[in-house]
Amino acid sequence: MAENDTHLLNVEGIHKRFGGQDVLKGISVKAKRGDVISILGSSGSGKSTFLRCINYLEYPDQGRVVVDGEEILTKTGKGGMLVPADQKQLARLRARIGFVFQSFNLWPHLNVLENIIEAPMQVLKLSKKDAIERAETLLDRVGLADHRNHYPSHLSGGQQQRAAIARTLAMEPDVILFDEPTSALDPELVNEVLNVIGSLAEEGRTMLIVTHEMGFAREVSNQTMFLHEGKVEEQGSPDKMFNNADSERVRTFMASHIH
């Protein structure tokens, strides 16, 4: 699989059907190191499903995902779906693709520190001491140093999402996928999370962000793509997307979403 591909993440032609409905009709995206790509579109356009297909939380029906030159191995399963052919390989690649969920998904039986050190210890086989050291640096960075011993249920939504971001960063992933990271938050808590994500963009992290925060998307990303009914409606620089998109649909969407 020695393909000459300078892209860190190369996703090609993802198709996905849910119960006879075509949700994704062949979506591709390529990310070079340091790219911040915002994925926009109205609800039901397939943005989140696309993101979930990239690390196989959802199994696509067609397409391929290549991470740093290594393709996720698949075979055809029931109903023509692509299923992972090698769970070990998939786990190894997933560890390199961070995923931040809309609903945080912190583990409620573990405190913040334990949430962060779990995967580095289990997956990367870090010693507890090293994992804690790594976690403390990250807690500092997301502004939760004082909350390391708190359980998720004692934190606000914004704090939970920042803890979840720290948990993802602790794996030192090559790419991070954000699935509407602020959609479940009260409006006054959105900014604290966006600031953290913005600071990650500034330090050159490679990220794909599904978001409804248009101002933020425009500010942090160097590429944008707009999905509509499972297809890419338009793709390009944020400047073009927000100011003079080719697609009438995108222009209408932008007009109603930017105030």
Binding site: A91, F99, H109, N111, E118, P152
Partner: protein
């Protein structure tokens, strides 16, 4: 105090057998319960069918009958198997083994329903987060799912545990010298049924009270971090 006519030692021995029987059956029952729950939630139809048949069967039969079946059935089956290898002697399964297997089998059937419900009650995102970080399905089950299943299932398991402790008395029928059987023996010798059955009742109450005290402690520990959700 009541005069036990020197049968204190025997009652104590009977109590110890009852406690041993309870805990061995519990251990077996928890394992069978988890296996049963996993089978019921399996993607494979045959496993689902086996898991569901297990609880349907056990829930549909009197416990007493299950205990008898294991005691007499087990020797019968073992002898049939042994005969195939040319061994024709009579094989007896001890009352203790038959009793703990039967009670564990019963406990497991009910526990599998509890575990199944608990696994379903855990939001799917919990396991997804683990898988997305590269954890294996094995790690995800034991590190993320199981500790939470435990918390959710614990009150129900406590109930089953109490019932199990009292169901051990059924095993007296196959000659195991547990608490009820030694009590009956003492009654036969002394002709003082009231004294001894009262003593046995007190001992059962002490055991169940200790158990419910222990369970409260476990529930408190298991709900760390989710206390306000649990209350």
């Amino acid at each position: 105090m009541i005069d036990l006519h020197g049968f204190e030692g025997l009652l104590l021995q009977g109590t110890i057998v009852t406690v041993k029987l309870t805990f061995t059956a519990l251990a077996l029952g928890l394992v069978l319960g988890l296996i049963g729950a996993t089978a019921k939630l399996s993607d494979t139809a045959i496993f689902r069918w086996m898991g569901n048949s297990y609880s349907t069967l056990v829930r549909g039969l009197p416990e007493f009958l299950v205990v008898l079946s294991f005691y007499f059935g087990a020797s019968h089956v073992l002898m049939m198997i042994a005969a195939k290898f040319g061994y024709d002697e009579y094989i007896e399964v001890s009352g203790f083994v038959a009793g703990f297997v039967a009670l564990g089998f019963i406990f497991g059937a009910y526990a599998s329903e509890l575990f199944r419900g608990a696994i379903i009650a855990i939001p799917k995102g919990q396991a997804e987060a683990a898988r997305a970080l590269g954890m294996s399905s094995f790690q995800t089950f034991f590190r993320i799912t199981l500790p939470q299943v435990w918390r959710i299932a614990l009150p129900g398991l406590g109930n089953l545990f109490m019932i199990l402790m009292k169901d051990t008395a059924l095993v007296s029928v196959v000659g195991l010298e547990e608490l009820l059987r030694v009590t009956a023996f003492a009654v036969g010798r002394t002709k003082e049924p009231f004294t001894f059955y009262l003593a046995a009742a007190v001992i059962y109450l002490v055991l169940t009270s200790l158990a419910s005290f222990g369970l409260r402690h476990l529930e408190k520990r298991a709900s760390t971090g989710v206390r306000e959700l649990a209350s």
